[in-house]
């Protein structure tokens, strides 16, 4: 059921991404164990929390980027009405990026690291990643240029991917001043997740909505303009909410506070937009699971990124919650809602297309969706309660860090239990996706 042969390249990207996703969750469980129990010194010396955290976060970035790249390779031929410029290059890129990623992970075990959170990959490997990104952009760009069927959706996607690659460069140098270091660290992290990644996923999501709902391109793309405009308007200057306490000028308290208070608006617009497209659909619902993930993604995106972000973005609140478990709560809900569910929506849609399935079995997908969504939400709540406790006991009452954490232990045990259920849900989804079949007629 695919129109272009080269779209098949999405499959290996997605399979690798799913495997890394599972590994990320296993590492997450290990981190929860570190929080909930006292580990022997000998183990801590060999495999400390820091290394496990580097695994957890780098696996997150790697699997999500591979998901976006696979999604792009699937979407571009359909949008531009042409085969990909080069399937071979796409393979080389995949092998290069996965090879670099695995090398980096093994390196972490031996202390080979740049030592900056989320950007631990050593500088020499960074250059391989840049080469991988350039191959990708060249391949996507050439396909679009040769096809000359420009659409708004393609433009958004390409703009997002180019920005994503450019911003990565700011994470490479060694900065002398710690404050400047964090200033540009956020150009990678914040401007990725609230800038470039939003562009990429908004384009993928718009394309998917057009496909499954059959709603007119003109309507979808008009709203895409508005959403992206608002995303970038609030998101770019909203970077300021990370500059409150780093030794930057005081005006960031105002700029960050005002712009980021508006950040939920475009997400709310996206939810409303999605629900309206679904209501005005011109196509029949043949695979409810895909729709369930799409709508779930929009709503979860709003809750995790929009509401949870808004809750602690004002300087008066952030003064107490900054760098506490409240941040952890927001991070988990936002990444799951905005990016994990988006990728999984694309995976379900694309896997069915690649295998030429019209109606696949729905039951496991639904279970996977609800088990992961609910357990992640409860985990976010548990982190949130721990974070509020920490803000009050450590920051307000001035109890020491360790004393405070002793009072938060119960919630880390709850996080661990939620994590076990989350892993179960992920295993169900991965099994379901890899064995997706036409449902037998009843």
């Amino acid at each position: 059921m695919i129109a272009y042969k080269s779209q098949r390249i999405a499959y290996p990207y997605f399979v690798v991404a799913l495997f890394l996703f599972a590994l990320q969750v296993v590492m997450g469980l290990w981190l929860a164990i570190n929080y909930a129990f006292t580990l022997p010194q000998g183990l801590v010396d060999v495999f400390p929390f820091s290394t496990a955290r580097a695994f957890h976060t780098n696996l997150l970035v790697l699997w999500m980027l591979l998901g976006f790249m696979g999604g792009t390779y699937f979407m571009i031929p359909e949008e531009s009405k042409r085969e990909l410029f080069s399937v071979k290059l796409a393979w080389i890129q995949l092998i290069l990026l996965v090879g670099t990623g695995v090398t980096a992970l093994i390196g972490f075990l031996f202390g080979w690291t740049q030592g900056r959170p989320l950007l631990e990959i050593p500088t020499s490997l960074d250059f391989l990643i840049v080469i991988g990104a350039l191959i990708f952009l060249y391949n996507v760009g050439m396909t679009m240029i040769k096809a000359r069927n420009w659409t708004m959706t393609q433009g958004t996607l390409l703009a997002g991917l180019v920005t994503l690659a450019l911003l990565y460069l700011f994470g490479i140098p060694f900065y002398h001043n710690l404050s400047i270091d964090w200033y540009y660290w956020w150009w990678v992290i914040h401007l990725w997740v609230e800038g470039a990644w939003e562009l990429v996923t908004a384009a993928l999501f718009a394309w998917l909505l057009m496909r499954i709902t059959g709603v007119d391109r003109r309507v979808v793309e008009k709203w895409l303009y508005v959403e992206i405009g608002l995303f970038l308007f609030t998101g770019i200057a909203g970077t300021g909410h990370h500059y409150y306490w780093i030794g930057a000028p005081k005006y960031w308290l105002w700029v960050g506070g005002i712009f980021s208070a508006l950040e939920p608006v475009p997400i709310l617009l996206m939810v409303w937009d999605t629900l309206r497209h679904v209501k005005e659909r011109k196509a029949a619902i043949n695979n409810p699971v895909v729709w369930m993930f799409a709508i779930g993604c929009a709503i979860y995106h709003f809750v995790g990124a929009g509401v949870w972000g808004f809750l602690h973005t004002l300087p008066q609140i952030n003064y107490y919650t900054h760098g506490s478990q409240v941040t952890v709560s927001h991070g988990h809900l936002a990444f799951f809602g905005a990016y994990a569910l988006l990728n999984l929506t694309v995976f379900y849609y694309v896997f069915a297309q690649l295998k030429g399935i019209t109606n696949f079995r729905q039951v496991l997908g639904k279970w996977g969706f609800w088990v992961t969504s609910i357990s992640m939400f409860l985990m976010g709540l548990a982190f949130g309660v721990a974070g509020v406790l920490q803000s009050y006991l450590e920051r307000k009452l001035g109890l020491g860090y360790m004393v405070t954490h002793q009072n938060m232990q119960l919630w880390f045990h709850i996080v661990l239990v939620c994590g076990l259920f989350f892993l179960l849900g992920v295993i169900i989804m991965i099994y379901d996706l890899l064995t997706l079949k036409e449902e037998k007629a009843r």
């Binding site: 010396d45 404050s179 405009g229 900054h322």
Partner: protein, 235 residues
């Protein structure tokens, strides 16, 4: 909404935010030197930052509030704990946290690197962070003392304000780095306790506790008086 309005929102929104952000970035660069005391960024401080990255400290600890949330924030560690305590922990984390429920890995950091790390923390300690973090803010700690002193003795309030709980336990609450103090009054008289607080090594040369010579005599007396009363049921 027409297509034209939609495009206008897109370009207007994106460009206005981007221009504002870039202008403020330029201005931040102009001001950041003074706010962070960049003139004191010596070669040793830079080597300290390199060591900080080499040992991946930042994936367990936060600094300026960013990083791993597994261990205490290090922005103000220099004023909170002092150089001796930092050296001691970096040399022998397995000893310092032997009784702690959370451990720190022994990474065999060299003596030079430890000195560089201390210099780095001393520099970070002076970054002007709009009085963050609250737990290390003088303003907030003093307010805490005033509010808690209403119900308990001045000595108890000072005991809390000066973070003695970070290392010592009372009634089962507190850290494990130093000994529990429930029986402090049985082991030492008030005068000795005063000396331990201001100069621990003068009583026990092996003590790893930081000295508090800058603490006022009346504060030391108040805490010592409070501790001398701790004569918990002998075990």
């Amino acid at each position: 909404m027409t297509d034209k309005t939609a495009k206008l929102i897109f370009w207007g929104g994106t460009l206005s935010s981007l221009i504002l952000f870039l202008i403020l970035t330029v201005d931040t660069h102009r001001q950041v030197g003074a706010l962070t005391h960049a003139d004191k960024l010596s070669a040793q401080v830079l080597d300290g930052k390199r060591a900080f990255q080499k040992y991946n400290c930042n994936d367990c600890h936060t600094i300026l509030g960013f990083g791993g949330y597994y261990s205490p924030d290090l922005t103000r560690v220099y004023s909170r704990r002092g150089p001796d305590y930092i050296r001691n922990v970096l040399q022998h984390p397995e000893v310092a946290f032997a009784n702690s429920f959370r451990k720190m890995p022994q990474q065999h950091i060299s003596e030079t690197e430890i000195g560089n790390l201390v210099a780095f923390f001393e520099w970070v300690n002076n970054i002007e962070t709009n009085d963050w973090p609250p737990q290390d803010s003088k303003k907030y700690r003093a307010a805490n003392r005033l509010s808690s002193a209403a119900g308990v003795s001045r000595g108890a309030a000072l005991f809390q304000e000066n973070r003695c709980f970070d290392c010592h336990k009372l009634e089962g609450v507190g850290g494990d780095t130093g000994p529990a103090l429930d029986q402090a009054g049985q082991r030492h008289d008030e005068e000795t306790i005063k000396r331990i607080i201001s100069q621990p090594q003068s009583v026990n040369p092996q003590a790893t506790m930081p000295s508090h010579e800058d603490m006022s005599a009346s504060d030391v007396s108040a805490i010592a008086e409070f501790l001398a009363k701790q004569k918990g049921e002998g075990r």
